[in-house]
């Protein structure tokens, strides 16, 4: 025998308990990974987002607010053949950390994609009633857009902790300090020219110039 009979029984029982425990803890995760390997299905407008986190976002965002998601619109196609779909989200503003302090509510527009077999998929997920801290920028057509996509949205939990879409958590107080410090710091990102409203195809000369790119 491999070992004494009593030891074998003991080990088998022990192994069973370990497998049971591991299965409870990791089973769901493992099964999900094995049977849905790495696939995230969506299609459509994909942006390369500015990274750098709060130090960059606090400087670059035109508005930073704390609010509650009031309503989520249905993604709408402009029906003129252009591949652009937007979804509107209304936010009740509870506190303004940057930007227009008079705002009671804001409408945020997100890119969404119409897929042939999976309906609409939005750039950023919202749920009604969520308490959120949001960084906004302009989308060039007079609408707010969540700054840098999913990374510009933070959830606030019942303890007033701020949770990034990636799952990182920090206190709201710490977030306020980070935002405040970032806004006092020298600009990290530079821009070519002031943004201009889009009014047709911009000619190469109008698009501005910089030292590395000629138009």
């Amino acid at each position: 025998m491999f070992m004494k009979s009593t030891n074998k029984k003991y080990l088998l029982g022990f192994s069973f308990l370990i497998c049971l425990a591991l299965g409870i803890v990791f089973g769901k995760h493992i099964i999900a990974r094995v049977f849905s390997p790495d696939a995230v299905y969506e299609v459509g407008p994909s942006a390369a987002y500015l990274g750098g986190g709060v130090p960059v976002y606090a400087q670059e965002a035109s508005n930073i607010i704390i609010g509650v998601v009031k309503a989520i619109g249905v993604p709408q196609d402009n029906n003129d053949g252009r591949l652009v779909v937007q979804q509107e989200v209304s936010i009740d503003v509870k506190e303004v950390l940057k930007g227009d302090a008079l705002q009671k509510s804001v409408r945020v527009f997100m890119d969404a994609t119409r897929t042939p077999d999976r309906g609409f998929i939005s750039e950023v997920d919202f749920k009604p009633g969520e308490k959120v801290l949001l960084f906004f920028g302009g989308d060039g057509s007079g609408h707010y857009a969540v700054f840098s996509g999913p990374a510009g949205k933070y959830l606030l939990d019942e303890n007033n902790d701020v949770i990034s879409s990636g799952g990182e958590k920090l206190s709201l107080a710490d977030m306020r300090v980070q935002i405040s410090n970032a806004m006092k710091a020298p600009p990290i990102i530079k821009h070519n020219i002031d943004p201009v409203p889009y009014s047709g195809e911009i000619s190469p000369k109008q698009a501005g110039a910089n030292s590395a790119m000629k138009y």
């Binding site: 080990l11 022990f14 192994s15 370990i18 990274g51 302009g138 020219i193 889009y198 910089n210």
Partner: protein, 240 residues
């Protein structure tokens, strides 16, 4: 014959050899270990296995579920881009062309077409790289789009947001255009952004070198070259 190995005090592995000096068929039957140490060893091995497995199956690449009909696509470049930018785009395409899959990007022409994905773009049957300052200040450095016919892609376009500066030569506070276009070509192939990875559960940043990471910092060049996650993705879609 008995040979004793002191593996670690006081674990003793006793191996019984037969008269010919071989282990013989009954080798395993003659190993004895103290039960308490077996428990420790078994538990350790179990956890190593679980965590190794968990790590190995972490995020790698994201698929949109669609693909090009064939194994090639032709791209055109707006005529306002400087020669150095055009060369950067060629390098970006080359990175994917040498990724080990069957797919190939082919360079078409310089064009006056200038797709503006920031306001939407009407399909014209051409896959173009363009630029615009559309007033988008929401951190979207570049955007790519695609057109489906059924579940098959027939066209993709990329627009660079010239509100943000771009460079090919490391100009400070600028975005490396080859870095970004290599990422955007990944979208053309219908790979998705990847935001989390093995060692960094939150959004990827410059420390994560996979090209399909969706976030960029100024002057990073990590994404010019593909990582195994990226090449695994294109091979999964188009084969090798």
């Amino acid at each position: 014959m008995i040979i004793s190995y002191n593996i670690c005090k006081p674990v003793k592995l006793r191996v019984f050899l037969n008269r010919n000096g071989n282990f013989g068929n009954g080798f395993l039957n003659k190993i004895e270990m103290k039960t308490s140490y077996l428990k420790v060893i078994f538990l350790t091995l179990a956890y190593i296995l679980v965590f190794s497995f968990g790590s190995a199956i972490a995020w790698a690449y994201g698929l949109t579920g669609y693909r090009w009909g064939g194994t090639s696509a032709t791209y055109n470049i707006n005529n306002a881009f400087a020669d150095s930018f055009r060369a950067a785009f060629w390098s970006s395409a080359g990175a994917w062309n040498t990724a080990g899959s069957r797919f190939r990007f082919n360079y078409g022409n310089i064009t006056t077409r200038n797709p503006n994905i920031y306001i939407g773009y009407i399909s014209d049957g051409y896959s173009d790289i363009g630029h615009v300052n559309a007033g988008d200040t929401a951190g979207r450095i570049a955007k790519s789009n695609g057109w489906l016919s059924g579940n098959t892609f027939t066209e993709s376009d990329t627009t660079f947001n010239t509100y943000y500066p771009f460079t090919t030569v490391g100009t400070p506070n600028s975005n490396d255009v080859q870095d970004i276009m290599t990422h955007e070509f990944g979208h053309w192939l219908r790979l998705n952004d990847v935001y989390a990875h093995r060692t960094q559960p939150s959004y990827c940043d410059y420390s994560y070198e996979a090209t399909m990471c969706g976030y960029f910092v100024n002057n990073e060049t990590n994404k010019r070259s593909l990582e195994s996650d990226d090449t695994d993705g294109i091979k999964a879609i188009y084969g090798i």
